[in-house]
């Protein structure tokens, strides 16, 4: 068992593909078919390009707040690739690449960052929950879904995401405990990107690693190189197996880094040093995965260039489309409060409509 072999109490970290693109642990290299490997890489690349463009658009004042994912693509895609279509993803708010891998449309995802609830209206069959802003609260939803699917005898697992900062919240604790108590098929993935806005991981908790926290819930925990998509893949794969066997949840701490700002309204130069950023830039998940694919003859610079151009065009086109979609209809903002609009709310809507008519 990986969680035994890479015991966080012994200071072990699971790595397969190192930052130079070399397999450092051959026995652990997963057998992923070529199509899937390419899909993984492409999702990471699309995520990266969308991220870059989003920041540009935002700087031009054309988009609202956006939470960049740059640097965290492997954590997200590596884990999601280990799941099936029937499995669930319960995101926080910085999981775009994982959502793309799981099939979310780029347009929807960015409709959200453009300030439209429609962006959360992902096709139900994708089994991706909406973005959750209140830190760590989504993990209780992950437990609940896992409970329901298990009771309904579905062979499904639920992956819940949270940040390093999120591990300080009470809801983190309650959710992990709940899942563990009922042996639920949940996989908790901490994207430890080292920062919670301006607060470094070291100020968040004295725990030696975030994986150590698993011990308090009697569940296995493991620290994984989160910039290594293969390590994330096998850690998640094992967690999934355990979950489906009825052996309960797993806590995966993915060591990664947020290369960009917290959100587009954040200036990270205030609180962190360039050399930290460059250290992690060398550990870029895309770089190493590209080398891996090249070594497998699945990828090359030409393909890369072509794909980048294609995605850049696609992203630009998508953003421009979104920009056209100007405002949300008045009815839309009232319609989804309840299945059926109560009379009083209908009256409020009608009042407001008559006001609009009058002032026109």
């Amino acid at each position: 068992m990986l969680t035994k072999k890479f015991d966080p109490l012994k200071g072990k970290i699971l790595e397969v593909l190192n930052h130079e693109g070399k397999i450092v642990n051959e026995k652990l290299e997963p057998k992923i078919d070529d199509d899937k490997l390419l899909k993984m890489y492409k999702s990471m690349l699309l995520g990266r390009i969308a991220d870059t463009k989003a920041l540009q658009f935002q700087r031009q004042g054309r988009m609202l707040t956006y939470a960049p994912i740059k640097g965290q693509e492997a954590t997200q895609v590596g884990s999601m690739a280990a799941l099936s279509e029937t499995d669930w993803m319960v995101p926080a708010f910085r999981e775009m690449a994982g959502m793309l891998y799981k099939g979310a449309s780029l347009k929807k995802l960015f409709l959200y960052w453009y300030g439209n609830e429609e962006g959360n209206n992902l096709d139900k069959s994708l089994k991706i929950l909406p973005i959750s802003v209140p830190i760590a609260s989504q993990l209780n939803h992950a437990s609940g879904i896992a409970y329901a699917r298990k009771l309904l005898k579905k062979e499904e697992v639920v992956a819940g995401f949270v940040g390093d900062g999120g591990t300080s919240q009470g809801e983190f604790h309650e959710a992990l405990n709940f899942s563990a108590v009922f042996d639920l098929p949940t996989i908790f993935i901490i994207q430890n990107n080292q920062w919670a806005i301006s607060t470094p991981r070291s100020s968040q908790t004295k725990a030696e690693t975030l994986a150590h926290k698993a011990i308090g819930y009697g569940m296995p925990g493991i620290q994984v190189d989160g910039n290594d998509p293969l390590a994330m893949y096998i850690a998640t794969e094992e967690a999934k197996k355990r979950a489906l066997k009825g052996d309960g949840p797993t806590l995966i701490e993915a060591l990664t880094y947020r290369l960009g700002p917290h959100t587009t309204s954040d200036d990270p130069t205030i609180y962190r040093e360039d050399k930290e950023v460059s250290y992690w830039e060398e550990r870029d998940p895309l770089k190493r995965f590209k080398i891996y694919l090249e070594n497998k003859d699945l990828w090359d610079d030409k393909k890369e260039e072509k794909q980048r151009k294609e995605y850049t065009d696609f992203v630009t086109k998508t953003f421009k489309e979104i920009e056209k979609d100007k405002f949300v209809d008045l009815e839309e903002v009232f319609n989804y409060t309840y299945a059926e609009m109560p009379k009083d709310l209908k009256d409020q809507l009608d009042d407001y409509k008559s006001y609009l008519k009058e002032v026109k």
């Binding site: 609830e117 429609e118 959360n120 209206n121 992902l122 096709d123 139900k124 929950l129 909406p130 959750s132 802003v133 209140p134 609260s137 993990l139 209780n140 939803h141 992950a142 437990s143 609940g144 879904i145 896992a146 409970y147 329901a148 699917r149 009771l151 309904l152 009470g170 809801e171 309650e174 959710a175 405990n177 709940f178 108590v181 839309e332 319609n335 989804y336 409060t337 309840y338 299945a339 109560p342 009379k343 009083d344 709310l345």
Partner: protein, 325 residues
């Protein structure tokens, strides 16, 4: 028809719904094996198993957030909070998520779920066991809030809440859990959410109450029976969305309005009812719409609780005051 208390009506309704629909489940602290501290869920675990009548860890966010996830995952969870004072640690889940999931996802994810809890004072309880926080939840868009005052309504409203496609907060007036019995049909029925009930017709004043104060108001009317005041008594039953039409119709007839509640006064439920009456029946009013409420002090421990709890005498006096205005 069997005679039931509010408590036994709740218990048998849960039983009936769990029997009819495999996706209905119950969860809460001590709510499984021992059937809850009030025994509202008694026997359910024995009948439906540990998986459908769940003893949870001691964690309200996990209960409510977990119930949300269960609803997303295809169940119809009925979560029990041990006392309404202990819903507070789960407040974030209710306000930030439960109330919003439908709107957040434009209807993709909806939450058929119920959050049940005993509420209100008058049972000589410890701190945090007596609060009436209905207006706080009533303020949050996306929630429905119901409060039965009789065994019949307890069943009908709980059935409606479980079948409702949206989340419903179901407050149980624990002071009258076992206060009296009423005939409650065995067959399934719903009391519609959003509809008040005129308990007694009258012409001089409209009095609105809910929960245990309905009973206290009936007692007040007894006290007034020789005073020649004709009271129209309305049991609100649903706090959100509440039944403006029934109130409007009544006040247009009586010209006078009194709302009685145990919740704190300021920014409390009565203020909303009064404002509504103002809009709907301003020109019919013969006296200022009035409220008789809990004081703006933390509800006292038992040795001081009588200063807070609203007696039939106080209600009677207030009715007279308003009629004489």
């Amino acid at each position: 028809m069997p005679l039931k208390t509010i408590l036994s009506a709740i218990n048998s309704t849960l039983d009936q719904q769990m029997e009819k629909d495999d996706t209905v489940i119950s969860l809460g602290e001590d709510a499984g094996f021992e059937g809850g501290v009030f025994r509202a869920t008694k026997g359910l675990q024995q009948k439906y198993g540990k998986e459908r009548s769940i003893d949870t860890p001691l964690a309200e966010s996990a209960i409510i957030g977990g119930a949300l996830g269960m609803a997303v995952g295809g169940l119809k969870p009925v979560a029990e909070i041990q006392f309404s004072g202990f819903v507070l640690p789960g407040f974030n889940q209710i306000v930030a998520h439960v109330a919003r999931f439908r709107n957040r996802t434009r209807g993709t994810y909806t939450l058929p779920m119920v959050i049940r809890m005993p509420y209100g004072g008058g049972i000589r309880a410890l701190e945090h066991h007596s609060e009436s926080l209905e207006s706080i939840f009533g303020h949050i868009p996306g929630l429905k809030v119901v409060i039965p005052s009789t065994p019949y309504d307890a069943k009908g409203l709980l059935t409606a809440a479980i079948k409702d496609p949206d989340p419903v907060m179901y407050f149980e007036p624990k002071r009258i859990y076992r206060a009296f019995k009423q005939e409650v049909p065995d067959e399934e029925y719903s009391v519609p959410i959003g509809k008040a009930k005129v308990l007694k017709k009258g012409t001089d004043i409209t009095v609105v109450a809910w929960g245990s104060l309905v009973r206290e108001t009936v007692k007040a009317m007894e006290l007034l029976k020789d005073e020649g005041i004709s009271v129209e008594l309305i049991d609100l039953r649903t706090i959100k969305p509440f039944d403006k039409e029934t109130i409007e119709k009544s006040v247009k007839k009586t010209g006078r309005f009194l709302v009685v509640h145990e919740a704190y006064k300021t920014f409390g439920p009565g203020a909303e009812l009064i404002s509504t009456v103002n809009v709907k029946a301003f020109l019919y009013l013969e006296a200022p719409p009035t409220r008789l409420t809990g004081h703006d002090i933390t509800i006292p421990l038992p040795k001081g609780e009588h200063h807070f709890i609203i007696s039939p005498e106080r209600i009677a006096k207030k009715i007279k005051d308003v009629v004489k205005f």
